[in-house]
Symmetry: C2
Subunit: 338 residues, 2 copies
Amino acid sequence: MKSTQVLLSRRPDGEPKPTDFETVTTDLPPLEEGQVLLRVRYLSLDPYMRGRMSEVESYADPVALGDVMVGGTVCEVIESRSDHRAVGDQVLSYSGWQTHAVADARHTRRLDPDAAPVSTALGVLGMPGFTAYAGLLLLGKPQPGETVVVAAATGPVGSAVGQIARLKGARAVGIAGGPEKCRALLDELGFDAAVDHRAPDFRDRLAEAVPDGIDVYFENVGGEVARAVMRHLNLYARIPVCGLVAGYNAAGVPEGPDRLDGFMRRVLTKSLTVRGFIQSEFEKEHHGRFVEEMSRWLADGSVRYREDVTVGLDNVVEAFNGMLAGRNFGKVVVQVGD
Amino acid sequence: MKSTQVLLSRRPDGEPKPTDFETVTTDLPPLEEGQVLLRVRYLSLDPYMRGRMSEVESYADPVALGDVMVGGTVCEVIESRSDHRAVGDQVLSYSGWQTHAVADARHTRRLDPDAAPVSTALGVLGMPGFTAYAGLLLLGKPQPGETVVVAAATGPVGSAVGQIARLKGARAVGIAGGPEKCRALLDELGFDAAVDHRAPDFRDRLAEAVPDGIDVYFENVGGEVARAVMRHLNLYARIPVCGLVAGYNAAGVPEGPDRLDGFMRRVLTKSLTVRGFIQSEFEKEHHGRFVEEMSRWLADGSVRYREDVTVGLDNVVEAFNGMLAGRNFGKVVVQVGD
């Protein structure tokens, strides 16, 4: 079986360019005992991938030059040498930017297409949803009546954060780019307030949206939005940090003034808790309960989600850059095969 | 009764100058029912006082111009209109930079001069000791075999942090200014390693002192020392932040480059926990146990302390500046009266 693969051929400088990648068609090796052959249906695009393209120190090793770009995928089993997976099974795997893949069956998770659309295993029921769930509930710990702020609020993490915050009795304030997204936060996702970070009066609007200050700032973007938020943090506010998308394409250290000392002074005077995390830290203990609760919330309509689907692996780089720039609405997936 | 008082007469610009204060002699009001007249024996000098001299936002209101500078004191009761305090009692109070004071008896705590020298109520058995105890044990949570790093390590907070860390089975690495202090960390206070931040090869020495990285960085200084430490933080390291002495005299925002984004990236990739705190947050629940444990540790010699005593209220500003600049060794107190 042949697979069309997108390889990382160069470390991007700033925004990734098509020329940083190479598309090749390769013969996959024959299956060994315990393996399955997969046809990729959906590829997840996530901000963390930008880190894997670079050599800077991070929580995972970079993708080697010449290797297939990594990524979560929903696939169909088209050949099996495992007793645990049958042809036709829909599975979650980590097969990356390609059309077909060989995987150990035990590295796949079977999905139930009747429970929810299988692509949700990459979004609201997958890593982004669990990032929101674990970060908000285990680290942010919102209490009834408190104010939770999240940016990139129409994204898969942000939209789940806001909706879960409301389910816990907190006030959800979403920050997003442009009036259309802000409207959707209010009308579609049930946020209590929405603030457009592209508006010229963003800082004033934000202040109006958090009259009682901010108790939880779920940090997934960093940059200017984060700086505006900091001024409103209440005593004992919690800041789970799962991402800093605004800086992912940055090269070198930004110019001054140096804001680190001021930030640390705020940490001190407001008794803030700042906590970086990757969802995998909480997987063992909390993932089962997440799937159970989130499935129920989806079924009863108390959590909604959007997907932003790009068709065809040919368009993967453009879709990826669109996500980093915030041009998507909802979870970005590439439909690699139908 | 007259009291000689040091008033804040001007908001200092940078390092406080003698001309920012005024010394006056005032008649104290007659005692009301429930009050005591106090003769101040020891005045505590602590870094937080620099914040109270300024109008910048902090966790407590600034001292008003013309008011007596605040501060913890150990006093002798010389007149009493309270059934709960007798003439001759030694008490802890918050009487500030003056020789005599009137206080409500219920705002004083009686000290037992037989249990420990009464001045320790301002240091190892007082607010600095409890800052070390609560911050390290409740937030830093050192585990046996882990590495704990603290700066200003011969100061009252730092020296307690290191010694408590060792009592909990962790490795204590102290950072201090100059070879004499570093020697004392090893010989007198039992630290496992000491690093001189004034040495030209400070960064290399620090790296040698933490071969397994750093699991807890107890932050009380900030500045360049903190930046050197950050590189060695392990996954899931904890950073209780109780002070940032290095910047207390700073005016304005330091020049670039802007290190905030880099710091947040480290928070993310190392899953760090950064937590600002003031010891009062933990007082109600943990202070009793602290006094009990610390008294035992002092009695059996497992915790030692040093005091840096300046005689005479006339020398208070010089002593205060010496402390901010790290010229002290141990807890800084002014002996106001014998």
